[in-house]
Symmetry: C3
Subunit: 287 residues, 3 copies
């Protein structure tokens, strides 16, 4: 499953949700939580099935999740049940902290009719990070974990910077836990919505850490995320040259070769193969 970009729209804004088909995100999320003001959340939940049905009837077949309210709120179970009863592909659980939260969501999703549903867990509290390895290993229906830097820094009482050293530990720990459990990892949002350069740098750094994609607040962030979480032309070209050189070495009985100043063996060969595989998934235009 590709996870390069995930686009949010508030559940109380059908005008924005209805525009989803225009954008090339890999995942779409209708937000019953922070994006919708609290007094409107119950009404938004009631309106959800019609909203989703409308999207699907219009031919929208992309992966569509519902961000529910957090597991320790009374809205959690009704929200999950509402998502399970409509044609959404699953839920995003914010402020995920315990495996039990995942079990409760899983039971509600399974009880509903329809295709198997998935869960993306948003880990954005100190308690969630401290427990992230167990969360990542919880198994189906968990598809991926997402890293929520803004809530985390608020709880820590820290300061948010463009460089983000204040969350490097937590951001690194989450992606490692996800990959150890062989699930996906989605990187933090960039709230500076007018600063494309900052988004690019932040996305590129997330990819460097091993993230598969990024949560996006706006359509223009989706395009940047798709670009940055796809292999670049020079990466693809270099990977091809590297594999050719390695094959030649192997025919000469070498398990290690020198390639453009670098000593190459198995791990770098597998990395080059992975880039070519990702590249072959990309339709022209990066979407």
């Amino acid at each position: 499953m590709r996870l390069r970009s995930l686009l949010f729209a508030p559940a109380n804004r059908p005008d924005l949700v209805e525009k989803f088909p225009r954008y090339p995100a890999d995942l779409f999320v209708i937000d019953l939580e922070d994006g919708t003001p609290e007094p409107e959340r119950d009404a938004a939940r009631r309106a959800l099935p019609a909203l989703v049905a409308h999207l699907r009837r219009g031919g929208f077949e992309r992966r569509l999740l519902v961000r529910v309210n957090q597991p320790r709120s009374p809205r959690f179970e009704p929200d999950v049940a509402a998502a399970a009863s409509c044609a959404a592909d699953g839920v995003m659980i914010p402020k995920l902290e315990s495996e039990d939260d995942l079990r409760r969501a899983g039971a509600l999703l399974e009880a509903a009719p329809g295709a198997p549903r998935g869960v993306i867990g948003l880990v954005e509290t100190a308690a969630g990070i401290v427990n992230v390895e167990a969360l990542a290993r919880a198994g189906p229906p968990l598809w991926a974990l997402a890293f929520g830097a803004e809530d985390l820094v608020t709880e820590l009482g820290g300061r948010r910077t463009a460089e983000g050293v204040e969350v490097l530990y937590a951001r690194s720990r989450l992606v490692l836990a996800a990959k150890a459990a062989r699930i996906g990892a989605l990187d933090q949002v960039v709230v500076d919505i007018r600063d494309a350069e900052r988004f690019r740098r932040d996305a590129a750094f997330g990819r460097q850490l091993g993230y598969d994609g990024k949560m996006c607040l706006l359509p223009r962030q989706v395009e940047l995320a798709n670009e940055i979480f796809s292999p670049a032309p020079d990466e693809i070209e270099r990977s091809r040259r590297l594999l050719a050189a390695f094959e030649e070495g192997r025919r000469a009985g070498r398990g290690v070769i020198e390639f453009e100043g670098t000593m190459i063996d198995e791990p770098l060969v597998r990395r080059a193969r992975a880039i070519l595989e990702l590249a072959s998934e990309d339709a022209p235009g990066g979407a």
Copy 2:
């Protein structure tokens, strides 16, 4: 409890301890451990009750702790008992590694008459960091954990730098564990006592990570720590503007607004509120 600054004085230096009332630290520590040469530690422990009584009689009512010797030394229990028998508010335990160390200290503190006492645990060994989540969760009487970089780097055999990347992992892990357990976190000392700029940068970075305050070796570091661990005027001003803009958005049915180029929702709103709360605790002058 405010924890912006913690000032040490060696227990064998009553001349320095007696100056505590002059300084605006949030916490004061009489040091029976490394600050006092080993041959003088037993005598210093015997002199402790008189020293504390003298301070208290002079009207000193600030929080006062005693740094005891480490839990695996024969001085640990006599030191804690001495602190418990006088008018100190609790103990600082260096080289904290196990929950059992906390339990032993807690039992001795509880057995003594007087007000409830607290503990600050100084985590400064590799074994302590590896166990820091369990330590943080140990519960009362633990008030806070403090991060001891100098001992840690000595044990690791590493090198200490101004940037401190060598301890970023441990320093980040400790503050996250403390906040997950809802206790305080005190940041590392700066041994370069003549370099105010270095102290400022180090303190600001500690605050960025989520620390509540900093251990200080000298009175002049206390003033800098108090300043840096209090909200700055521009932060306060921006927080006020942000909250006003968010309220306006909410009245218009928006859970997310754009504010000065940034997309704002719940976590950033709570961060702004926390800054205003901290600011309201500050007496004029930041002390």
Copy 3:
């Protein structure tokens, strides 16, 4: 045991292995894994005893390990048995993830005649890092853990950079786990084999983090590693001055002194002593 440098040679290249006696590495590894192409690995294992016997007969007495295939491959046990049956000092286990891997290797090594053998565990998968504290504590015959960045970044799907921020978390976590368990720690390889400056910077940063030495792909990296993982003349000189000043302070009843602008107490004194101890192990020329 000194661990400043570890030099690999592929097991299918007796011409390279036979040159080991020329180089000043602290550890030498004959590589049955990635350095040897897969179709040649069984033949290389059969040739191993003669290769090792030849080296030893030539008077080579340095520590010599065999890198075996990974624990989840069918070659693991035959490889360990082959290493145990010859005059090697132990094995390096790649892709180490579980304590059980260590137990299986330990049992095979113990069953063989000859001197006690050791194990260096190469941790280079996300699952290995997530379990690194337990691995480090596994006890004998584990001598050290080594950090394998290239495999790890390949698995994470991340990007490798010269600065290496993408592995700072894992690299820091491993060295801390090793030191908490009182075993050695060997740092990542540098695949840019023509860039001595990059090797130097990377080695210096590894030492800053607490690593004892570095895996080397080529003899010229061994010399650099030996140099950088030995105390520098100015460090030795400063440590001597510091200890002299501290002794003077102690005679005057001070547990804390100011030394060249820095506040010095126990941890910095122990760090200075450790540098002088390391320096006294160094033969002239740093080898």
